[in-house]
Symmetry: C2
Subunit: 262 residues, 2 copies
């Protein structure tokens, strides 16, 4: 019997670093497939569509279909649909967010907005930010796909969506509802899509402040892997600790549901 019946798995720092595959991640997914255990990749990257994310994983030799992916854009769009019905949505963001909003049958609007949503937008302009501020000041709900302050790139740490969102947040004095990890909304959506009970689901990730906190807050057991952002030293200073820690996902036994070292 496998201890955990479902897995939620982070991508960057856990399955790959940028364009480089983390081999132990790929091998874990193979073991999950062999055991017939369902898994969903949960990502705060709002810029790409789920089919693009799955394709990137397959190109790396990692078994993934569109239904194995939950992006923060998908979670945001589903949340809007559920909470606000057929709202007019003003979007700052890239393809992944726009298409997710449209996929839920919501209307994108530049002229009026019941909801303003911000995702990473590398074509950000003052006019886009100005419109968002005007809509939020007029009473539109204010959402943001994720609060990541910086994103790692070959050039160094560049502005993340959390820092772009700060423009509207600071200017209007309104705090947005963040959807992505470590917040609750994306985890609820991912659990629902996975279909397993939270008591039997494991959250795996490399970033304490997003992945592990998200798992802890959602009531999941967590496995932290030191192949990405957070180090053992940083982890030691945190309050709530993950249930499991590993230097590599090769240490994880799918069957026993525990870290094993040779």
């Amino acid at each position: 019997m496998n201890k955990y019946k479902g897995y939620l798995i982070d991508l960057d720092g856990t399955m790959y670093r940028g364009t480089e595959r983390i081999d132990a991640g790929q091998r874990l997914v193979e073991r999950l497939n062999a055991a017939g255990i369902p898994y969903i990749f949960v990502t705060n990257n709002s810029s790409r569509r789920p089919d693009q994310v799955a394709e990137k994983l397959r190109d790396m030799g990692i078994n993934a279909l569109e239904e194995n992916v939950m992006t923060t854009s998908m979670a945001t769009a589903k949340y809007i649909k559920k909470t606000y019905g057929d709202a007019a949505v003003y979007v700052i963001g890239e393809e992944g967010l726009r298409e997710a909003v449209e996929a839920e049958g919501l209307s994108l609007s530049e002229e009026e907005a019941d909801v303003v949503v911000m995702g990473i937008d590398r074509k950000i302009t003052y006019e886009k930010l100005a419109k968002a501020c005007l809509f939020v000041r007029s009473g539109a709900a204010f959402l943001s796909t994720n609060g990541d302050k910086a994103i790692p790139t070959e050039r160094g740490m560049l502005p993340g969506n959390g820092s772009l969102t700060a423009v509207v947040q600071v200017s209007t004095g309104q705090d947005p509802l963040f959807i992505g990890k470590p917040e609750a909304v994306i985890m609820e959506q991912a659990l629902q899509a996975l279909g397993t009970d939270k008591k039997e689901t494991l959250m795996i990730g490399d970033n304490y402040d997003t992945d592990i906190l998200a798992g802890i807050r959602a009531g999941l057991d967590t496995l932290m892997v030191f192949t990405g952002v957070s180090t053992r030293e940083e982890l030691a200073e945190k309050g709530n600790q993950p249930v499991w820690k590993a230097d590599s996902l090769d240490e994880w036994s799918v069957e026993k549901g525990e870290v094993q070292r040779d």
Copy 2:
């Protein structure tokens, strides 16, 4: 004998609202000229050159030359020159800031930076913000012309430089040194240019959180006029109060240095 020997005067909300002159402001400047009292207009608007600001005032029939103007861009550039010498400066901002930096003999640089300075930039791009983050993370000093969170326009309150600056501030975790009102730097520069002793200088403005706080912090007597942003009701909730309050600058006696009502 005139009680105050020099005046520092705010512009928007005090001398004009947008493109509309506040007549009582113009009449005060006439009385200062008749009495031979020096004055400098102190503005947090970094986007225009001082000669452009003076021209706008003259077009409104208000007596102003370039030497009667201290913009936050000028104060920023002078501060950089004094503090960092011949630094390489990476500028996000509009014409007023770029020209002020060049006017101090500093070199604008896109490739390396000892100092990063941000002013309002309505042609902001992700790449500009990315570069600022990389330079600040590499150890460049981080300055911002002013912390205004929103700017009033015909369309409503649009993002001010303080909210654009928040992108780099949040992303890097580094707080900038703000130069404009209510901070000390612009007031020191304006007092130096005016040449009067702070004990004999009056600061006039409509915005408690910028103009009046700047005056109080700089050790000046302050005159608050209710023709712009702040109301008497808002003022009542503030700790440090201005020395003088007026509904119109027509109430101000230049000779007696006090508010007079008929």
